[in-house]
Symmetry: C2
Subunit: 196 residues, 2 copies
DNA sequence: CCTGTTTTGTATTGATCTGTCCAAAATTAG
DNA sequence: CTAATTTTGGACAGATCAATACAAAACAGG
């Protein structure tokens, strides 16, 4: 029987994900990935095939972790719609608090990848589109509920409000990477909530 | 007396700027820059010193062109504040219409650079911070005027509204790069304007 | 037309990049 | 303990990277 791997695959994937997240795809070398994961080249190529394949898996893992967490908040039908949206913004800000390098945020891997790769990496673009659709659908459902129940007074179509909120969140991520502090991000979120 | 350059420096800078804009800093090779500008390596290094120096000049040029254009709209005191903000959003969307590659936008060089480089390129980060401050100041002044004149009813502090609007614009850029079409971008802008 | 200066094209450097190769080490089943 | 299989480390291959060297071409002033 085969010799078992001496490392945990998911743990290695997390380390790779974090490296791509912090430095981007192009600026991350395979040696960076070796250092971050603690693995040798052979182990990496043996289990993940190529840098690009590893990146795709890291991206999928990121979206699974974050989007699933966000959908859990958004789909909680025991709470009023507007509260759920507020919870989501709080979670986004909480994430920004946790993921800082110096005085700046490291952003969000999906936003970073959209900016860096979506225009020339068809596979990454497709993964991102799928993830985005999941989030848009969840937003739309919450907003629809909120409008029905009256805690969202804006008459703008749910799909448009959903697009608006995802754009604001992306903008907050960029602002964080540009050096905006946490109170500033909270103010942006609060203003966005005011639009509902 | 010296032999004159056989090319227009600003024209070459524009071509380089556009290449960095469309592909990012890391993904742009010096050979890409030669092809885009039509120059040989020697000419490029002779006039721009290095890839990084050329990038900084391209970034400065980009901010000069776009931010100056935006400030012209925002500072036009002959028009009501809210109209000026609407004009700005229209201009942003107009820019997105013009700068598309296939079905996606190529974003905004300042947003792209914030995402790709701000965290590890101190010089780029400083250029971006200066440019952002100019825009924030202009936004703040318009908003203050609008609140005084009554066409902006939100009581949120001008500085916070300014941050909100720049975040929304960054988010629109990201959305465009993610494949959002023009009507979608218009809906986002219109919702943002509703928050005022 | 010549002289001095700069630009420009080409070849090249040395570093770094992704990915492969191969043999040694490690592990389990029998 | 042996055989079969996989992982692992380190060296290596080939391509590409940013940047330089250098000589020839191009130009302006006298």
């Amino acid at each position: 029987m085969p010799r078992p791997k001496a490392f945990d695959e998911d743990q290695a994937l997390d380390a790779a994900m974090r490296t791509f997240w912090a430095n981007g795809y192009e600026a991350t070398s395979t040696e960076d990935l070796c250092r971050a994961t603690g693995l040798g080249r052979s182990s990496i190529y043996n289990t993940f095939t190529s840098k690009h394949e590893l990146f795709k898996r890291a991206l999928v893992r990121y979206t699974e972790l974050t989007t699933t967490g966000q959908l859990t908040l958004l789909d909680d039908e025991t709470r009023p719609a507007k509260d759920r949206l507020r919870d989501l913004f709080d979670a986004v800000i909480e994430g920004e608090v946790e993921n800082r390098r110096g005085e700046r945020g490291i952003g969000c891997l999906t936003v970073n990848t959209t900016v860096e790769l979506a225009g020339r990496d068809h596979e990454a673009a497709e993964l991102l589109a799928r993830d985005q659709q999941r989030r848009l659908d969840a937003f739309e459902a919450v907003i629809r509920t909120g409008q029905r129940d009256g805690d969202i007074t804006s008459a703008t179509p749910p799909a448009e409000l959903a697009r608006f909120l995802t754009a604001v969140i992306a903008g907050m991520r960029v602002a964080g990477q540009g050096g905006a502090d946490i109170p500033t991000l909270k103010a942006i979120a609060s203003t966005a909530m005011g639009a509902l």
